[in-house]
Symmetry: C2
Subunit: 234 residues, 2 copies
């Protein structure tokens, strides 16, 4: 977090600019060096490698992504925030396609944590939904489903020449995944009330904790709840 090196930040921004403007989504170390007026060895001292530079660019992209999300998730309704989060994700992908691919497409030997941190954000938003009793599955599982669908839809959007039927596709996918992850809002679909109640309590413990139980007791309770919501782990 203490990213106070101005030179490092300048090189990251230059790299991101060149990544966005280059026609083949490629960036040359020489170009970013002479863009900020330094020579190549400083790049290798700061980032160690070209991959290190790209990882830093991806992490910087996460910072912007997180800032964009923090400026938006303010509603009291967590499922409304979840819907807005999906649309914000798609907007981010459409606005910065090259950076998006750098962040969310699998790169070999990548040490960037952008994707994992995005998923942490999503898990947090989903935990708030679970605390409100709106989640049918564990937040981790739901997050992985939602993020995968979001990435797939965004990459499809990037690959196409940006045809006309964009938002319809995205919203269709969003509804499809959400309806398999969220409880139906109109009629409280309690197919397995014990399961959903355990999920809800677990999320509440994650969010606020409790002072009524000792820490050891709370930990044991969490394990019991996990055994209810993850029956396969014995």
């Amino acid at each position: 977090m203490a990213e106070t090196d101005p030179l490092r930040a300048a090189m990251i921004e230059a790299a991101e600019r060149q990544l966005a403007s280059s026609s083949d989504h490629e960036v040359a170390t020489r170009a970013v060096c002479e863009a900020v007026g330094v020579s190549q060895p400083v790049l290798y001292r700061l980032f160690g490698d070209k991959r290190g530079l790209l990882d830093a660019v991806a992490d910087h992209g996460y910072e912007r992504y997180a800032a964009l999300k923090a400026a938006q998730e303010q509603t009291g309704d967590p499922v409304a925030d979840l819907h807005a989060g999906w649309d914000g994700h798609m907007a981010f992908a459409k606005a910065n396609p090259a950076l998006y691919q750098l962040m969310f497409t699998p790169r070999p030997w990548s040490h960037s944590t952008a994707r994992d941190r995005v998923m942490d954000l999503l898990v947090a938003a989903l935990t708030r939904c679970a605390a409100a009793g709106a989640l049918k599955v564990e937040p981790q599982t739901a997050a992985r489903l939602i993020l995968s669908a979001n990435v797939g839809t965004a990459l499809d959007h990037i690959a196409r020449p940006a045809l006309f039927d964009d938002p319809a596709l995205s919203h269709r996918m969003r509804d499809a995944v959400f309806s398999h992850v969220l409880t139906t809002t109109t009629a409280q679909n309690d197919a397995d009330p014990l399961y959903t109640a355990a999920l809800r309590l677990h999320a509440q413990l994650d969010l606020a904790g409790t002072e009524a139980l000792e820490p050891a007791e709370t930990a044991l309770l969490r394990r019991w709840l996990e055994r209810i919501t993850q029956p396969g782990r014995g």
Copy 2:
């Protein structure tokens, strides 16, 4: 289809081999040339460009993909075939991750038609479902949804260190998307009977055609059906 140039095929296979074995999912034109015993100008004569070679590798990957699918979709039940198709897609991605990314990840300036042809295959499978009255939306829309979800899930699978919970995630996603695209098999969910009947008739016309109407009449009928199933297009 008349791909009878053995040298071209050998170079494509060499490139695919090196792509799969290289740690960074990269391939060098020099390496594929000396792997088949020719020099670089023949590569540029045959493929014009490195991108041309990669496009050819991607298209060859589609050939294997299509062969794998043709050897499998034999059941009389089209929705069962659709489920098997999803699982086959995931298996293909798991078996050849580098080739999969080459085929399904957006590359700038790519002239490969692998992704489009995969979607054509999917549209055909979905048209069979629509002819059986099992589809709720147009085959094109359903295909784009399914393919996007499939790619997103497969890339998530590739990015992760291949943890344990693989098939559960994939099948969850599959069920989520399919249930928003297929009619519920247990109870014939005819929320909009006219719409679904129009879809079904359109698919039947695509599959078999009709001799009861003149060609011009059939064409007009198709346009009417499309106006029913795509009310936004005026």
